[in-house]
């Protein structure tokens, strides 16, 4: 059994750590992509984003079964539908606030987040709820001399598949063209006769569905508990800030970067572990204040 490792600083980085960073990073991409696109398109920072992730986690808790894997697909399906509905509702609720500026619209989503959060707590209680991976994906396997959970390998596969689909839809599909146009210059798109309200509501819904599904597939890793929504929101915000608000490629690079930072960083600089997230963001923003892949065409409002 070969064991691949490099000794750096106070610890050893091994290949499995990098792999793990990839798994976490790809999950973060699924979660953060919706946040980034919605901001780029509607100028709304959806602060209910983390709450939707937790909703997905609780959906997984509800459907979770000790044997079999069918519950997993069911939970994902419910999350897709439920998440889209929540997203569309959020878009409709927040649209009247958009003309009043970022702060008001953002606060609107924050208020909705609190309400949904309390509702969830009254349904699922305030304790920690955990979920085991579906039976097919349970257990661990030997990778490069170390035991690694099969479920995390699944996350990598799912994440890569998602990234590929998103790339194709965005860059080759009509929907992608519409979204990019809406991000770049919505008034022009309106003038061309496209019902931008539908586009924005639709994309809001898709972004919300994605983060809710993210909550389902992330549930075996992130125990559902009060406070998780804020944790996820902060992670997603850091990712999109680093990547550049409105940019999907930015969200991708930012997510992978954060995944690696959290994975390797804890070993390289253990004393600074609590500051890794914010520290990375600070470093990136100093170098490029608008984020790594800022969307061009800043609209003047």
């Amino acid at each position: 059994m070969t064991h691949v490792a490099i000794a750096i600083g106070g610890g050893q980085i091994d290949a499995v750590m990098v792999l793990n960073g990839l798994a976490i990073g790809l999950l973060l991409f699924v979660v953060a992509s919706g946040l980034s696109v919605v901001f780029g398109m509607m100028d709304v920072l959806n602060l209910a984003h983390g709450t939707l992730f937790v909703l997905g986690a609780y959906i997984a808790v509800t459907f979770s079964a000790p044997d079999g894997s069918a519950w997993f697909l069911l939970a994902v399906g419910v999350a897709l539908v439920g998440g889209s509905a929540c997203g569309a509702a959020l878009a409709v609720a927040v649209r009247p606030l958009v003309p009043r500026g970022h702060l008001v619209a953002g606060l609107g989503t924050f208020g909705i987040a609190i309400v949904i959060g309390e509702l969830m707590q009254s349904i699922w209680g305030d304790g920690v709820r955990t979920v085991d991976a579906p039976e097919l994906l349970q257990g661990s396997t030997s990778i490069l001399g170390e035991r690694y959970p099969i479920y995390r390998l699944f996350l990598i596969v799912a994440g890569v598949a998602f990234a590929v689909i998103v790339y194709l839809v965005f860059n080759r599909g009509r929907l992608g063209a519409l979204v990019r146009a809406a991000t770049y210059d919505r008034e022009m798109l309106d003038a061309l006769g496209v019902r931008t309200a539908l586009v924005t509501t639709g994309v809001f819904g898709i972004g919300a569905a994605l983060v809710t599904v993210g909550g389902v597939i992330g549930a075996p890793l992130f125990p559902a508990a009060p406070g998780l929504d804020l944790q996820i929101l902060v992670l997603a915000l850091v990712v999109v800030t680093i990547g550049g608000l409105g940019s999907l490629s930015g969200a991708f690079v930012g997510a992978l970067l954060i995944g690696q930072v959290q994975s390797i960083g804890a070993t390289l600089v253990p004393d600074l572990a609590s500051m890794l997230l914010v520290g990375t963001m600070a470093v990136v923003l100093v170098a490029r204040p608008q984020g790594l892949f800022a969307t061009g065409g800043e609209r003047q409002r």
Partner: protein, 396 residues
Amino acid sequence: MVRSDAGRRMLALTVIVLAAAVAGVGCGGSDSGGDGGDGVVKIGLLSATSGPLAAIGEEQNNGLRFYLSQHGDKLGGHPVELSEGDEGAAPNTAVAAARRIVTKEGVDVVVGLTSTATALAVKDITARAKVASIITSAGADELTEEGSEYVWRTHAPNNQQCGLASEAMLDAAEGGAFLTWFDSDTGRNCGDAVRTALEAKGKRVVGTAAAPLGTTDFQPYLAKIRQSKASVVFAFYAGSDGVAFMKQYVEFGLPDQAKLVASANMTEEPLLSATGDAALGVESVTYYAPGIENAANAKFAEPYLEEYGHSPNYAALASYDAAAVLDEALSTIDGDVSPQAIATALGKVGPIDSPRGTWEFNERHDPSQGFYVRVVKTQNGRLENVVTKDLGHVAN
């Protein structure tokens, strides 16, 4: 003598009011005979009923209520009135709640205090108001360092309990011990206490790691444990972090390499059920386990399980004992209860026959008690902490 009508009416009214007042006091006084009794005692239940520690706060309240339900809602012969405050998730909410129940509602004693941060903030308020508080969960050592007559604790101080965790680690420490905790003063002090105890017995510590609060992916830390080749691991995490740690410890195959000894909060309910089978075989050291066999526990553990659907954890037990302590203290107070009377009476409380065994307050007002090594096993169809070794009474 008063001559006018109005004057006479005034005089008559005054006499009636005075007579009623004297009669009232007289009634109160004359009815109380024998041990304590009569005056209502107002207990302020201040614990986290919202936020990440809500599950513990709930257990604290349950423990005290359970004792009351077993004793006709009276302590020391005095009827009890409960006033509840939510500590919330941060010191500022706790301070507001404490002010309300101490100043506005005028409680005679405060019981609870879930987290160390809030306890530190609140104890100054209660001490200044000369109201005693009995801490049933917050574990930081500095809370009782002054030995103030207004601060009492029925829960073990962290550093003592952490140091004793080493007792469960000694038999597996040939390859060295790895210590890990959540990054904070509390975590670090605990880790240091374990290290001191291990090194005093000649065992090596081969590595340490502190993970930020809120860590969900422990792979980097588990990799570090693997690289250190330690044969025993001590972990101290709070809430869902602890659950994630124990699950991932198993997922990444660490049990093949090292035995896991966890701080007792990690293997207590409700976290134990949340962790599930990943907790099997994990050992911990603390002052209570539901399976302890003595007369007091026979009246506590099983009936509590029947009432609440899960076994009592340390917070429920500590609160149950807080009620028992108050029961004894209040039995020495006749008539009306005042906060100062309670504070003074607490100083005279003797050994308590508790479900944990017999214990009493030491000069710092922490419990002087015995400890047990426990391991998580499946028993009676559910996961339980089973006592494997009685460490006996530990001096502190």
